[in-house]
């Protein structure tokens, strides 16, 4: 019997969009029963939100004060306790899932399948390697649990409209005290979240300064878009690291992606190759970004971007 437990990422107040994408991946496994686990301090609301996701059989909530904010070393032993009833445990390939799921896998004595991009069978998956330069088909051992992260950019969120039962569970698990949360600094922004946004405007090294990124912000605000960036722009200090798109940043799949002043290194392109439409604006007509762009415009971004922002009225 294939039973998949999806580990929910959430803020305590809202479910992360990655959860419905992990469920979408889980529904690709034939005949799987899919449950969602929500671990937090007080998660009745988030649990109810998870119960609406189509394809979900049951939501399990585990409420402990230590679970907020989420710390991998504290969540992992609880997930291991929950996992005894399941053949598969899935999490998102976000920072939350990448931190947590390998710890779960090791405690369960298995390797993790990282970044599932397609499901070929209950133990057969495809995943990207070498910054997306190759795709490898892998087969997990059939006599062990499968622990995996889901490459969320490869999946459309499962629909809502469900009303799965929510069950609160008490786990008798000893939790470590060796890891303590100190604080979190988030970019205070009213703009959409990079992972969830339908439109993303990204700037690269060619913006040449933090001040010039104002051009990117204005265009993004006109479009209602999230802000992205290349590694070069982050390394230069023009934008904060959480905006970085690519192999070692965020992997995204918006409907519309603007790459402005970004040459298009393979490490960047791997983060956007599932985008609907890619627009590239670059002064170098030889820039590799044009090889993957649906619409390309060669020219000076410092005149094009303000003109475009105005034209979008």
């Amino acid at each position: 019997m294939t039973k998949i437990l999806v580990i929910a990422e959430h803020t305590g107040a809202a479910l992360n969009p990655s959860v419905a994408k992990c469920v979408a991946c889980a529904t690709q496994v034939d005949g799987a029963d899919i449950d969602i686990a929500v671990l937090g301090a007080s998660v009745a609301g988030v649990g109810a939100e998870a119960a609406q996701i189509s394809g979900v059989t049951r939501v399990v909530t585990v409420e402990r004060a230590e679970n907020d904010p989420a710390i991998a070393a504290i969540l992992a032993p609880q997930i291991v306790a929950l996992a005894s009833d399941y053949s598969h445990v899935f999490g998102p390939s976000t920072a939350f899932g990448k931190d947590l799921m390998p710890r779960v896998a090791a405690l369960l004595g298995v390797n993790q399948i990282s970044d599932i991009m397609s499901v070929d069978g209950s133990h057969r998956f495809k995943r990207p390697i070498y910054a997306g330069n190759a795709v490898v088909a892998v087969e997990a051992p059939s006599d062990h649990k499968v622990v995996a992260t889901v490459r969320t950019a490869s999946y459309q969120a499962a629909q809502g409209g469900n009303s799965a039962p929510v069950e609160s569970v008490d786990l008798d698990v000893e939790l470590p005290t060796h890891t303590r949360f100190v604080g979190i600094e988030t970019g205070q922004s009213d703009r959409p979240d990079l992972q969830a946004a339908a439109k993303v405007v990204s700037g690269g090294r060619a913006l040449a300064s933090e001040e010039n990124f104002e051009l990117i912000y204005k265009l993004a605000d006109k479009l209602g878009a999230a802000i992205g960036s290349s590694r070069a722009a982050v390394d230069a200090g023009y934008v904060p690291p959480e905006t970085q798109v690519g192999q070692t940043g965020q992997i995204i799949a918006p409907d519309l992606y603007f790459a402005i002043g970004i040459s298009g290194a393979i490490q960047h392109i791997t983060g956007i190759k599932d985008a609907g439409t890619i627009v590239a604006i670059n002064k170098d007509e030889e820039a590799p970004i044009f090889e993957v762009a649906d619409i390309g415009l060669v020219g000076d971004l410092f005149s094009i971007v303000p003109e475009l922002t105005d034209a979008l009225g």
Binding site: A134, V135, P141, E185, A293, A311
Partner: protein, 249 residues
Amino acid sequence: MEKILVGLKRVVDYNVRVQVKSDGSGVETDGVKMSINPFDEIALEEALRIKERGEATEVIVVSIGSSDAQQQLRTGLAMGADRAILVESGTSVDALTVARVFKAIVDRESADLVILGKQAIDDDNSQTGQMLAAVWERPQATFASEISIDGNTARVTREVDVGLETLDIDLPAVITVDLRLNEPRYVKLPDIMKAKKKPLDQIPLADLNVDGAPAVIETSFEPPEGRQRGIMVEDVAGLVAALKDKGLV
């Protein structure tokens, strides 16, 4: 603290555009430039800085693989590591087994801190550090962009999707490092000469009595689905028209 262990993985160089072999049996690595995984270089740089601040006494670089990995360990020694350990294996070793090997070395050396790259740029798995922390039953702080040591505690700032998170972790512990933590130093010629005299121990994998983990089998390789090159527009008016055409604005 006394000892910091740093993992150095030998990988295809960052600048190589990797090609899948025509028969789908793997990727082409013959005659391809090999280097230290870039994240591991950052890990080593950070360990060296901790030692240079007087907060650790010894930095040991560790690699697991064929004898070719001696080259990467020698580079690590030239950067400033005190000694190197090569755990020799003729075949590739899965992440959980690597974590168990590191645990065996940690026990031998009584290491206080292990610093690893957040991922290797070949398999892009991002799991070894977390797995080592699990099998060691110690704290993990992944994707570090700032590390400070205060006695038996490390304060680590982590790059997460919404910004920067800070954790305090008790030592011993595992830290995996992100790009922004530091810029690794360049190796100078005299350091390369000196590195030749530094100790490099070779231990056959079998001597560590580590249980092999159930392997995930890689059955076939293929190139990614490419995107088609689209249209070029002449000006902003053309761009807006093309976007309207697709119903995107």
